[in-house]
């Protein structure tokens, strides 16, 4: 064995790199089969044998042989967000690596480049949440005034979500609090006699929290055969939906308890 030979493929680094790419894919919202297949493709292209990759939303386990070396690794994934730009770039990187077989250093560099990719600036995220609530209120049949109120509710939802992420709150509580803050302004406004239709404002802003896109992920995972993932994501969807419902319920009935029936 040519140990110390610099031209030799650094199998351990490549192996770790493939795990890291899988990890990043999962964290940025890739489907489970994509995570598993990406890891397997990279390792096979570099000549690893007996490649096995197993992923669930919270963990990735990879094992492979390279000549006489046996490598195994598990990666714990604690949270994931939907980041379409990073997902798309990681997918491209994975393709490029399989075709070009760059050395470990270059591949690591390209991965780091993607990880460090800046997202939208903070104000754009706030604006997007406001605009999302604004247009969904119009979409569901609300008037212009309702939409304007929804715009500010959208900003409020974003503010609460950012704060809850900072204090590292769990999904249930974060959504519950966000839903409470979302429902309070329109209910209070209509209580004060403003011509605001509280249902329209709440429905429009609600769209920011409802895990609507996640339900297609659930069905997708189930149809591909990743039942474990489908079940765990389904549980997440149900818990978030329940949290939103309870939050809005608490807000409305709390205001009713304080100020009487309206």
């Amino acid at each position: 064995m040519g140990k110390g030979n610099k031209n030799r493929l650094n199998e351990e680094r490549i192996f770790n790199l493939s795990c890291e790419i899988g990890h990043r894919l999962l964290r940025n919202g890739a489907e489970i089969y994509r995570v598993e297949e990406s890891i397997e493709h990279i390792l096979r292209s570099y000549g690893f044998s007996r490649v096995e990759a197993f992923a669930v939303p919270s963990c990735i386990i990879v094992s492979a042989d390279y000549k006489e070396t046996h490598l195994a690794r598990s990666v714990r994934v604690r949270s994931f967000t939907e980041n379409l730009e990073k997902l798309s770039r990681l997918n491209d990187l994975c393709r490029a690596i399989c075709e070009e077989l760059p050395d470990a250093e270059e591949a690591e560099e390209r991965l780091l480049e993607i990880i460090r990719l800046p997202g939208y600036p903070g104000w754009a995220e706030y604006l997007a949440c406001g605009a999302g609530a604004f247009f969904f209120t119009l979409f569901w049949g609300g008037g212009l005034l309702d939409a304007v109120v929804a715009f500010f509710c959208g900003l409020l939802v974003r503010l609460v979500k950012v704060f809850m992420r900072k204090v590292d709150s769990n999904v249930f509580f974060a959504n519950l609090i966000a839903a409470m803050f979302l429902a309070a302004p329109p209910v209070l406004l209509s209580l004060l006699g403003a011509p605001v239709r509280q249902d329209m404002v709440i429905i429009g802003t609600l769209m920011l929290l409802v895990p609507g896109a996640a339900i297609t992920n659930v069905a997708r995972d189930a149809l591909v055969g990743d039942f474990l993932t489908a079940l765990s994501r389904l549980a997440e969807v149900l818990i978030i939906t329940a949290a939103i419902a309870i939050g809005i319920l608490m807000s409305i009935s709390g205001i009713e308890a304080l100020f009487g029936k309206f």
Partner: protein, 150 residues
């Protein structure tokens, strides 16, 4: 005559959600929004159908088919387009009304509305992922050379 004004709202709402989900390329953002609006237009156009589940299903299928095409044109995963395009179909209003019945203590309407919300969600989910399974089979049948952007 059905009014298609809400398609414009759906377009801008999808743009906003594209930013929330960190889609950065302008052409991808626009494609997502167009697909979202088109899916909603299909939903509206199918107003003559008796079942709302069918409307949700076909609207989701439209979104999925267009997303598959966009994925091949823009060389990006299908999810990039579908995740955003499906958002206008999400039955948020049904969810709200379910809650409203719960607050009012109308248990039978709560159960009815809650079930409907679940049905619509299932119709969207199955419509959205049915196409991708089909596309996967097609690309495998076409052989390993065929570009596979599932």
């Amino acid at each position: 005559m059905v009014s298609y004004v809400s398609c414009i709202y759906a377009f801008f709402a999808c743009l906003a959600f594209g930013v929330i989900f960190e889609a950065k390329k302008i052409r991808c953002l626009l494609a997502e929004a167009v697909i979202g609006a088109a899916a909603w237009a299909v939903f509206l156009a199918l107003g003559h159908m008796g079942t709302e589940i069918g409307r949700y299903f076909f609207a989701a299928v439209t979104a999925a088919v267009l997303s598959e095409i966009a994925a091949r044109v823009f060389k990006a995963p299908v999810k990039v387009f579908l995740l955003v395009a499906i958002v206008p179909l999400v039955p948020g209003a049904n969810l709200y009304h379910t809650m409203q019945y719960l607050i009012e203590g109308d248990t039978s309407m709560f159960a009815y509305q809650g079930l409907r919300t679940l049905e619509f969600a299932a119709a969207i989910a199955i419509g959205g992922s049915f196409v991708s399974s089909l596309a996967r089979i097609v690309s495998i049948v076409r052989g390993p050379d065929a570009e596979n952007y599932d």
